[in-house]
Amino acid sequence: MSILKTSLKSIAAVSLAGVLFSCADAPKKTEEVEQVEEVEELESMESVNLESDFIMPSPIQIAAMFNRSGLAYESGITNPTNNVSKYNTKTSRYLNFGVYSADLAYVVLNSERQASLDYIKVVRDLSDLIGMPSIFDGGNLLTSFEKNIDNQDSVLYILTTIKLRTDDYLAENDDASKEAVFFASAWVEGMYLGSKSATTESSITSRIIEQMSILTNVIGAVKNQTDQSLDLTYLISGLEEILTTFEGFEEVKSLDSQGVSFSDIVLTNEEISLLNKEIETLRTRIIAG
């Protein structure tokens, strides 16, 4: 754990400084003064805390929410599994790991047996290429998935296990910031699938709008990811364009007014089409590799 590693490196310096400075007699403070100082210190610490502390939701949950809101299954809209051969760069593999994870959740939730088997294999292949073979436990998880393919509860539990192991892998390798890359591309794919398979009687549109409430934080998290070898320029600008378009809508501008929340927003068909078009443009760029 990095905590101990960092501690050991810094302890000597801290201890020496402590030895040199702690012996001096500090003036005694009254309790009242100390309390006031503590409040000030709390405020100053808060203002310098630059770490992005935002919890990213589960793409499986987002897919499940869309599914319950009346998302009808449309075959042929997911990223074709044979596209995986095109992903020869590190960036395209990371991004499409997220895309295929969202596709996998979509086909599983719609009980598409063969597609589920095809997509879990492609997710496994990409996890190997990325260097995360441990998340599939040497193939045991894939075997378990195949064995339980007709039991949706078990299959969804396995998808949750993949998510947990991915988080564990990134944390163990001091690489947690990459979660944002996986999530951002899974989010784009989920929004694309949502927009493509929405039906008139579904409440999917309100769910899509609700998702926009996390976009600012997602962009921030992608910008903060620390691997300089990933080229995420087009992903960031694509997400920013989606956000700018959304924030330009009249209804969304009213969010600044008191008492107006995301669930109150109703967009026109033209606005929804514009938003969907921008999502599709970014998604096309991601899956092109």
């Binding site: 754990m1 990095s2 905590i3 101990l4 501690s7 050991l8 810094s10 302890i11 000597a12 801290v14 201890s15 020496l16 402590g18 030895v19 040199l20 702690s22 503590e38 210190e41 709390l42 610490m45 808060e46 805390n49 770490e51 502390d53 935002f54 919890i55 990213m56 939701p57 589960s58 499986i60 949950q61 987002i62 499940a64 929410m65 599914n67 319950r68 809101s69 009346g70 939730l109 949706q152 969804l156 539990y157 949750t160 998510k163 947990l164 988080d167 564990d168 944390a171 163990e172 009687e201 579904s202 409440s203 309100s206 769910r207 609700e210 409430s213 996390i214 934080n217 669930s263």
Partner: protein, 159 residues
Amino acid sequence: MKKTALTLFSIAAILLMSSAIIDIVCDTKTLKKEGISELNPFYYSASKVTEVDYDYKSSRREIEVPLFKGEKYRMIFNKKGLPKDVVIEIFEKDKSHDNRKAVFTSEGSSADILSYSPEKSKKMFIRYTIPKADGVTEKGCLVFILGYQLTFVTDTKDN
């Protein structure tokens, strides 16, 4: 002069060893596993391990948690990796709201693993208040797990 330097280094070495003992080795995998076992019947959604530095002054950290309308959630906090207690509070508004009131606080509870299931699902803000260190720098970790109720039966009346 030489003698003074030697004394200083000896004291530093003793402090270094005692600090290392005070330091908690965070076995995050085990702490997460313990937290996840409290989620049932909720599914794992996400987790965050916060490295806590007890500094010479108190400090606060805030985590934003997006919760979606109509969904059911459970939040688990595992404090076993902390050498000193950290107060956990949950708010429905961010820190720019001066008079926000906590919907949950760990104050008064001695439990190492805490659980909270919000009644309403909306964006929430978790605040950790970290007390100051007792003389030496101390470190620890606090594990947060978010779980959600996974239902996948088509329900067009949602919302």
